[in-house]
């Protein structure tokens, strides 16, 4: 009998077909590359036009944070990266006149959404994604939602870019919308009482024999017939 030596190899990896391992590595590499590209593009977008020194500094920090977050997969580093990229985007938008940066702001907003999604998929640790994705969403459900979000962003940006649009009103509307959205999003469902859930149950199939063999029940007195 040839028994593979399993002592040096971690469980779960050594006997997987190479094609499957290669496919998994390819997928992860593609995710890393895409997330890195999106994060750096969001930082680069803040540098268009005539960037001031604070924005340059922020963009540098943000780019470094994105690279670190992608490399480590740590949850906190991902949040810091999102924070820095957002601050960079806001900094660039607050320095330059509003009409000149409407398109950039909308694009940066889309990139921020993609960065959040990408960092989420690369996260490691107890709360991160598990090894195998066995039931993914349909693109038909996902794309319309993100399209609606970006459409709303573009509409608000267009309104904000109109000459003579009141900035103070926009601020008030934005504040009200934010509070309303938070209230809607954080409304939790009521959990049922514990007694509502049925007790776990199992089906007994009998003791299994080796694959392909007839099922044989083990004797009751399985232990050796004598000991000292």
């Amino acid at each position: 009998m040839t028994t593979p030596s399993v002592d040096q190899l971690p469980a779960g990896e050594p006997h997987e077909p190479s094609a499957r391992v290669a496919n998994r590595l390819r997928t992860r590499a593609a995710r890393i590359a895409a997330t890195l590209l999106v994060g750096l593009a969001a930082c680069a977008l803040a540098l268009t036009g005539d960037p001031k020194q604070p924005v340059l500094l922020l963009a540098g920090f943000a780019a470094a944070a994105v690279v670190f977050a992608v490399a480590t997969g740590w949850r906190m580093s991902g949040s810091v990266a999102v924070l820095l990229v957002t601050v960079t985007t806001l900094g660039a938008a607050s320095i330059v006149p509003r009409r000149d940066r409407s398109v950039e702001t909308v694009v940066a907003c889309g990139l921020l959404l993609l960065l959040c999604v990408g960092l989420d998929s690369l996260e490691r640790g107890d709360r991160g994604p598990l090894r195998d994705s066995i039931g993914g969403p349909a693109w038909g459900q996902v794309l319309p939602v993100y399209a609606a979000a970006l459409g709303a962003t573009a509409a608000v940006a267009a309104v904000a870019a109109l000459p003579g649009s009141p900035s103070f009103t926009l601020v008030l509307v934005g504040l009200a919308a934010a509070v309303g959205a938070m209230l809607v999003a954080t409304r939790g469902h009521r959990r049922p009482a514990p007694s509502d859930s049925p007790a776990p149950r199992s089906n007994r199939n009998g003791p299994g024999a080796r694959k392909g063999d007839d099922e044989k029940s083990l004797p009751d007195d399985m232990s050796p017939d004598g000991s000292t």
Binding site: V6, V106, R127, A148, A160, A185, P200, S202, N203
Partner: protein, 442 residues
């Protein structure tokens, strides 16, 4: 996180039965994911920046996250999930491939992630998965690489809802998996020429009522007419009858020295000992011989020779208990009763030859009139620093000790066979059996 435990059913006799399928309904406790927190962070920063700078266009950045948060509120998340699983079998042999299938049914789940935690020395790979509306199915293949009793799983599930903004975790406990050791290579059941037990399948040197031709002899009164060998009779002008070899059974007792386990997991001396014992037991039980087992090292255990089909399972369970045996008290072979070591039995001692216990054991066996065969299963040397002269010297002394032990065994007339777990034991067994002659009792 909801913890789901599938209980194993208990039969009326109080025995825990092996459950290979199970189902459960688990309550889900969703918590916000990093994506939700980051979207909220972006929205909050944008609104705060807009308020602080009094520039409304900064609020544009907050629009997309807020829209996403509003479109997927938490109230749409399911309260519970139905999970069912099927484990192909709970008993298998090393390197068997077991299918593990899981079905998850929950409405409103955006994505399902899973991880089947592999038992120690086992390999798990995802074979297939599919989604049909609210029902998600997945199948894994579990390949246990080393004998023992393991907990298969748990199966960890992460159910993501609300477009990735909320997630809940569920752990599904799977039944215990019993992995029997694989059998070492023994191609056929060979036996000594002199056998005592009647009613077997091995042709012995004695004449009897078998089917294998053993010779001719002159006719004697009472011989059957159909046994007359007419060709010999015609040649000698005298009646001759054919003789046939008697068919006898064979008693094999495997003695395992489990006191020391050395070597890497999967190829340690205990692993090889167990596989050798299983190979011998399986081969000889298949030939309707009687096989017994004695384990020395920890507690002294034995199983008397028997030929029933369940004997293989008894031996399986006995050798699997050897790993859990941490007793260092031990026992000597002299305490094994005669019924376990019947007269005329062939004794195969499987040992790593790492101490003098093997020599004492063989001496005792020789004193009881047996002619044992020693199978040495040590395949590795101790790890010593390569640059240390003292360590190298110690290694040489260790090698010399082992050689001296083998010389002592040879002096007792005991052949020592080295087996690395790969080769076939048949040829050497046959050679040993034919060469050995049991001595008279001391």
């Amino acid at each position: 996180m909801s913890q789901v435990t599938v209980q194993q059913p208990v039969s009326a006799q109080g025995q825990v039965a092996a459950a290979t399928t199970g189902s459960t309904t688990a309550a889900l406790d969703f918590s916000p994911t990093s994506r939700l927190r980051r979207l909220a962070l972006v929205a909050t920063l944008a609104v705060v920046a807009a308020v602080l700078t009094a520039r409304g266009e900064l609020a544009v950045v907050a629009v997309a996250p807020l829209v996403l948060l509003v479109l997927y509120p938490r109230r749409d998340l399911p309260l519970s999930v139905d999970i069912s699983f099927r484990l192909e079998t709970t008993r298998c042999i090393e390197d068997d491939e077991l299918a593990v299938e899981v079905q998850v049914r929950a409405a409103g789940i955006h994505r399902v992630e899973a991880e089947l935690v592999a038992p120690e020395h086992a390999v798990v790979r995802l074979e297939e998965h599919s989604r049909d509306g609210d029902v998600v199915r997945a199948g894994w293949v579990l390949v246990p690489g080393r004998w023992g009793r393991y907990r298969a799983g748990p199966l960890r599930l992460r159910l993501v809802g609300a477009m990735g903004t909320y997630a809940a975790r569920v752990d599904v406990e799977l039944p215990e998996l019993v992995v029997y050791p694989g059998a070492g290579a023994v191609a056929r059941a060979v036996a000594p020429a002199q056998l005592q037990a009647p009613l077997g399948e091995h042709a012995s040197r004695a004449t009897g009522t078998g089917v294998e031709f053993a010779g001719v002899r002159p006719y004697a009164q009472g011989d059957r007419e159909r046994d007359v060998d007419w060709r010999t009779t015609a040649r000698h002008q005298q009646l001759y009858v054919r003789q046939y070899a008697a068919e006898r059974a064979f008693d094999l007792v495997v003695v395992l020295d489990t006191g020391v386990d050395a070597g890497p997991p999967g190829r340690s001396t205990l692993d090889l000992s167990v596989r050798a014992a299983m190979g011998l037991a399986q081969t000889y039980l298949r030939a309707h011989d009687r096989v017994g087992l004695v384990t020395l090292g920890g507690s002294l255990r034995w199983i008397g020779p028997a030929s029933a089909g369940r004997q293989l399972y008894r031996i399986c369970e006995a050798v699997m208990a050897a790993r859990d045996d941490i007793s260092v008290v031990g026992g000597r072979i002299e305490r094994v009763p005669t019924s376990v070591l019947p007269s005329g039995a062939f004794v195969a001692v499987v040992t790593p030859l790492l101490d003098d216990r093997a020599l004492e054991m063989v001496t005792d066996l020789r004193a009881r009139g047996f002619a044992p065969l020693v199978i040495d299963v040590l395949t590795t040397d101790p790890d010593v620093p390569a640059k240390s002269a003292a360590a190298q010297l110690a290694l040489r002394v260790w090698h010399m000790d082992r050689e001296a032990l083998k010389v002592q065994l040879a002096g007792l007339g005991v052949p020592v066979l080295h087996w690395d777990g790969e080769g076939d034991l048949t040829g050497v067994l046959l050679h040993s059996m034919r060469a050995l002659r049991p001595r008279a009792r001391a």
